[in-house]
């Protein structure tokens, strides 16, 4: 279990390569990467991510513990950035390794669903004309119900 909360960029490709190398006898690896998406009209200048130092690591650790209890995982990785990001920047990633693809997929989706709505991160979108806190989506809260 590898959990990192950082302002620095991470190298998604390199993290995937390392993760797969360390999980060579796992059979199945799933990774997810979240990227700052520009507005359709290209007006996003920055996506600022605030978090709650201390609680963030604790919440992510619990979510990963839950995933480990529910599925047979050989490894799991969560990286989440905070601070100002720009369109195209990688915000976060998760990776899971298991003997079976169904476990690896389910655990990765579980991690994402909980991380979205239960880890203390808040996004603010900054455009040239102002800034706005991103509102939580019902669909993200609803996603938790399936687990």
């Amino acid at each position: 279990m590898d959990i990192r909360v950082q302002s620095a960029p991470f190298d998604y490709g390199q993290e995937c390569a390392k993760f797969a190398q360390n999980a060579a006898n796992s059979g199945a690896i799933v990774t997810f990467c979240g990227i700052v998406r520009d507005h359709d009209d290209g007006t996003l200048t920055s996506m600022d991510i605030e978090h709650y130092p201390g609680m963030t690591e604790r919440a992510l650790g619990r979510i990963a513990d839950d995933a480990n209890r529910r599925w047979s995982l050989n490894q799991c990785l969560i990286i989440h950035r905070y601070g100002p990001l720009r369109p195209g920047d990688q915000i976060m990633m998760v990776a899971t390794a298991s003997r079976h693809r169904s476990d690896a997929f389910a655990a990765a989706e579980f991690l994402m669903d909980y991380l979205k709505s239960r880890a203390p991160f808040w996004k603010k979108e900054v455009t040239r004309t102002g800034s706005e806190w991103v509102a939580a989506k019902d669909v993200d809260e609803d996603a938790l119900k399936r687990w």
């Binding site: 605030e50 201390g54 915000i91 991380l115 880890a119 203390p120 991160f121 808040w122 806190w133 993200d140």
Partner: protein, 83 residues
């Protein structure tokens, strides 16, 4: 009892500070919010819609009727939007 209160995202912006230390006898989170709201408008404004607020006690998510008994740190913030 002495409580460290933390605010995040737009709650922080409305309150005007990221954290403060207060003295209170509030029994629950709800009591605490009421007490603060009675003190100043900026609190009343930030806490007016509880459905838009979330709370953590000592870095664990909690409910508004959770007791503050042995709490040291209470955090108030909007629904989380990570990922």
């Amino acid at each position: 009892m002495t409580l460290e209160i933390l605010y995040f995202a737009w709650v922080r912006e409305r309150i005007g500070v990221p954290r403060e230390t207060i003295e209170t006898d509030a029994a629950t989170v709800a009591d605490l919010l009421q007490e603060l709201s009675a003190r100043e408008d900026r609190y009343a404004l930030a806490f007016s819609d509880l459905s838009a607020l979330r709370v953590a006690i000592d870095q664990d998510l909690a409910d508004f009727d959770s007791p503050l008994a042995s709490a040291r740190e209470v955090a108030l913030f909007p629904p989380m939007t990570g990922g």
